[in-house]
Point group: C4
Chain length 224, copies 4
Amino acid sequence: MTVLDDVATTVGELRRTVSDLHSQLTKYGLVIWTAGNVSARVPGADLMVIKPSGVDYDELTPESMVVTDLHGTLVDGEHAPSSDTAAHGYVYRHMPQVGGVVHTHSTYATAWAARSEPIPCALTMIGDEFGGEVPVGPFALIGDDSIGRGIVETLRDSRSPAVLMAQHGPFTIGKDAWAAVKAAVMVEDVARTVHIARQLGDVPPIGQADVDKLYDRYQNVYGQ
Amino acid sequence: MTVLDDVATTVGELRRTVSDLHSQLTKYGLVIWTAGNVSARVPGADLMVIKPSGVDYDELTPESMVVTDLHGTLVDGEHAPSSDTAAHGYVYRHMPQVGGVVHTHSTYATAWAARSEPIPCALTMIGDEFGGEVPVGPFALIGDDSIGRGIVETLRDSRSPAVLMAQHGPFTIGKDAWAAVKAAVMVEDVARTVHIARQLGDVPPIGQADVDKLYDRYQNVYGQ
Amino acid sequence: MTVLDDVATTVGELRRTVSDLHSQLTKYGLVIWTAGNVSARVPGADLMVIKPSGVDYDELTPESMVVTDLHGTLVDGEHAPSSDTAAHGYVYRHMPQVGGVVHTHSTYATAWAARSEPIPCALTMIGDEFGGEVPVGPFALIGDDSIGRGIVETLRDSRSPAVLMAQHGPFTIGKDAWAAVKAAVMVEDVARTVHIARQLGDVPPIGQADVDKLYDRYQNVYGQ
Amino acid sequence: MTVLDDVATTVGELRRTVSDLHSQLTKYGLVIWTAGNVSARVPGADLMVIKPSGVDYDELTPESMVVTDLHGTLVDGEHAPSSDTAAHGYVYRHMPQVGGVVHTHSTYATAWAARSEPIPCALTMIGDEFGGEVPVGPFALIGDDSIGRGIVETLRDSRSPAVLMAQHGPFTIGKDAWAAVKAAVMVEDVARTVHIARQLGDVPPIGQADVDKLYDRYQNVYGQ
């Protein structure tokens, strides 16, 4: 399997990374049963590593992860890839800066998606992480490029690493799988907090100038 | 005990399966105390394996499971069968395709049941799993066939594997106990998400043609 | 310590029972920090075993439990008794059939208490366990018999083993500590489910004749 | 490092205390990812021990804690200090009685902060712990003394150990880090319960005279 030979070490590491990162989805209660998935682009190759379809989170191992090309065709692995593989691949093909994609049906983010309503930038944490409101993508059926195209068209010109696909659920992106998982955790957290805030009254958005300051500082100064 | 001799191996396996599956009910927070139960039909016999009455989930073992006939009469086991055994048995007697039944009082599904309101098909996941709205069954008292009859009459002509019994809670069915447990997990998840979505505004249903496409694809293509 | 000599074995067993039962309060999320307590009457003596004040749930042991008389005076133990001991003692003095008392500030039950609103009997589980609505007791300050008197006056003529003390939280009783803990778990569960049901519309109560049938059957037929 | 020599034993103990106390934040669900922090003043020195920036809660150890002066300048440690260090330091410089500070974005407290609405003193537990309503502080951007000044100006003349910083989240203080953590746990609990209570109707506050009695008794009598 020539295409894998050049990146065999990288793929081996990504199998472990992607497998392990699914434990963050269960830890934070973002997924039930088998309904959510993480993938990572293989740098230097038109490949990705993704969760197998219909396998329990408790049973995921590096070996059970699946390698496909960016159209979702199986390259290596014993299981069928996630049923969302086409959407992940579309994102990798059209957003070269993206190294990781996550999809969940996390409760509060999906609730905003059910109403096709963006999450307003009403908390400093939203300014930090999303740089503005969390946008809504179109309603799209699984089975062709519709979901991937909706993700890309919504996020291409946005600072947000998360999109709420209408009547479906959130997809998040990042420079790597870890960043995409962090965005999946964060979007559920802010979706929940703003939802609860709004249950008892109006929730004013933060002014754009302050959002810009928060986003700039967090993206450029924060962390080790 | 002649009736058990022919299916002894099957019954032994089902005791383990049914006992183990209860851990999914506690894992997903669908039950408290002893208030929920799983059963499995014994293929090739008019028997079922079901949870004993009033025993803690932590103390369930394959050995503590109970075998009854499909009218709920004890055939093998050291405990009394679940107080919901009559309802499970009625379903097995009248729906030959059903191999597993689950009953819980999971919070959000029961909340819809308290209002006798079906869960609208407002998310792609509901189209996938339930093929339309999750229907409500009649109010029925325990003690005779009323609950079982209400379940069967509601689900017989529905794609949904879940019914919200009015002012009581959800019952789910499946081709086996695993599928019925999955439906119990899923119905609580969609009950919660649609509830939360509707708290802040209208939640439009997905059009019937799209629901049909989702359901058909998920039932026929998805999985390993 | 003569008063303890006659019941030493019983007290030893109750120390373990009461200590262990607190793990149900944390398991079901009914308490935070040290804010909830279980007690048991010592049969055949004017004594009770109760949680020490201000000790973490993780650090409770049979040895750390406290024995007091029914006025809350310390009889045996190395810690001060729970600050709610006076209320527990008042209940034991005035309700001889009660063998266990539990107090929590569990979220949903306390929310009904904050509005001084009884939980309507809108679910079969409420008919089973409470035999009608869960009543509200008066607002009462800690420091004298006010809380205990409010509990007793509310529950004396009720089927309910739970009272929602106004602007404070639930107290539950039972024939023993286990039954009182079960009632504490159940009252939070039904408080939550009916709350959520009512968020999206009216929740009709079950008719009195049906409530009577549910209660009678559950109290007299159910269980092993 | 002369400044540390005199307090080396104390700093060693505080590293362990502060590291361990973060487990209470995760236990009670007050934080996600790395978004919350605990600090402790070093008695007898113008120093504090605080969480490192951007390190997972699971990976915190006494050794990874950071020592800074009260302006946030690193004195000892291998990581950068929390991005909230300036706010902690401002509090220690201006409130000499404070020995511990905690910051989280816990869901319900942050929801009240998103509306800039104080939590009314509607439960006996709020009277006990907060001595009145939980106040709101100003909206302030990170990067200078604004957050610290907002905390101090709000809490200086309040009995409450918690302030809800507008559109941001809660900060809590205490005589030591343990007390500040307890206040962080308690403020989320009362924020949640009063939120839920108010969802279904009005929630009357407790009268001031009764609040005073509750607060006085709890602060002076309660505990071991």
